[in-house]
Symmetry: C2
Subunit: 224 residues, 2 copies
C-alpha cells in the first residue's frame, strides 16, 4: 500500500473566514460533494468510529478522509489500512483548529470529481475548532462516555455548532457515572435541533445509525 | 457556605508573554507562593483529582485553587464544597487558554500572604494551554486511560512542557487498550525528565504520591 499523503497546512491569509467558508460550501454544492467536519476531545474515538463507518459506507458512497493532526501521521495510515478509503494527513503545525482556507488546502489534494463525501477529522480539541467555520455542510462531534455527561455545560459553543452528537464508548457505561438522559438534556440546551446517537465504535453497536444519517445527508445535499 | 467568587478574565494586553510569565514567577518566589498549572483534555478528571489531593494536603499546606473554565462555575463550587479549600472560578469568556497576565488577574483575588500553594486548573484542552507560559513554577498534566497511550505522539508540545504526567482512571485499565509502559516511553520521548504517576482519582489509589510530589516541590521552592 502506498504511504499516505501528508500535507503541511499553512496559516490562512483570509481576513473573513465566514465569507470564505460560505464560498467553499457553494463550491462543494456545485461539485455535488458533501463535507462533514467531525470534532471531539483527544482520545474520544474519532478514528475508530470512522473506520467502522467507512466500512459500512464505502460500497454505497465514494468517500475520502482528511485527518488533521498537529504532528503525527498515525490516523491517516490507520484509516487507509483498515478501510482502503483514500486518506490524507493534514499537519496543522501546532495550530489548534482548521478554518475554511486550511480545509481548502486539504481538499486540493482530494479527487473532487471522484467523491460524494469527504470527512474531515478536525484537531482533537473541544474549544478552538468550534470557533471556525471550515466550510463543511455539517458539523458533528463525538463525546465519549469517560468524558462525562456535563460537557455541553462546559464547552457550550462546540455543542451549539454541532447538528449531530455521537456518544461513543457506550460499552464502558457501567464503569462511569454517565447519565445519557442528562446528556441529551444538556445537548438540547445548546442546540435543540441536534441529534444524539449513542454508539460503540469498538463493538460497532449503533454505528449503522450514523452511517444511515450520513447517507441521507449526502442524498439530500445532492438533491437540493 | 458562601458562593464561589467568579472572575471574568479579560484578554491580555502584554506583547511578551514569556517576559511577563518570568516576572510573575519572580513575584511568586518573593512571596514564597508555589503555583502549579494543571492541564488536561476535557473530562480527564482534573477536578476529582484535585479534591482527593487537597484533602490530603490541606492540613500540611495552605492551599488555594483557581478553576478556569469557559463558562460554567461547577468546578469551583465542587472543590469548595468537597474540601473547604478557598476556590475561585475564572471565566475565560470563550478563550482556549490562560497566559501569565490572565493568571495574574486570578491571583489578584487570592490571599497571597495566606497561602503556600496555588493550583491553577487550566482550560480542558491539550493544544493551546501548552503554548502559553502562565508564570507557574511547574506544569503538570493529567492523561486519562480512556484517551489512549498514544497522546504524547499526537500532542507533543503539551507533553514537552509538563514535568509531571498523572495517568488517571487506572481502575478502568482492563476495559481499554492502554499500555502504561508504552505511555511512559512516549512521554520520555517528549520530556526525558518528566515523572509519570498512575493514579485513580475515583478510588484515591496513587493520589498520595501526587500529594507527596507537591509537598516536596513547595518545600524546595521556599528553600531555594
Amino acid at each position: 500500500m502506498d504511504p499516505v499523503k501528508v500535507i503541511e497546512i499553512k496559516k490562512s491569509v483570509f481576513a473573513d473566514n465566514d465569507q470564505d467558508a460560505d464560498a467553499l460550501r457553494k463550491e462543494l454544492k456545485g461539485k455535488g460533494v458533501y463535507l462533514l467536519n467531525l470534532m471531539s476531545s483527544p482520545g474520544s474515538g474519532k478514528t475508530t468510529t470512522l473506520i467502522r463507518t467507512l466500512n459500512l459506507l464505502k460500497d454505497k458512497l465514494r468517500v475520502a478522509v482528511m485527518e488533521a493532526d498537529i504532528d503525527s501521521d498515525v490516523d491517516a495510515i490507520k484509516i487507509k489500512e483498515a478501510t482502503g478509503v483514500p486518506s490524507i494527513q493534514l499537519h496543522t503545525g501546532g495550530m489548534c483548529h482548521l478554518d475554511a482556507e486550511m480545509t481548502r488546502q486539504g481538499l486540493d489534494h482530494v479527487d473532487m470529481d471522484g467523491v460524494d463525501l469527504v470527512i474531515l477529522e478536525n484537531v482533537g480539541n473541544l474549544v478552538c475548532p468550534a470557533e471556525f467555520d471550515t466550510g463543511a455542510c455539517r458539523n458533528a462531534m463525538i463525546l465519549s462516555v469517560p468524558e462525562g455527561h456535563d460537557k455541553p455545560l462546559k464547552y457550550p459553543l462546540m455543542f451549539s455548532v454541532c447538528d449531530l452528537v455521537l456518544v461513543n464508548k457506550t460499552d464502558v457505561m457501567p464503569y462511569f457515572d454517565f447519565d445519557l438522559e442528562k446528556c441529551r438534556e444538556y445537548v438540547r440546551l445548546r442546540n435543540p435541533k441536534a441529534t444524539v446517537l449513542p454508539i460503540c465504535a469498538k463493538t460497532g453497536e449503533g454505528v449503522e445509525a450514523f452511517a444511515q444519517w450520513l447517507l441521507e445527508e449526502v442524498r439530500n445535499w445532492k438533491k437540493q
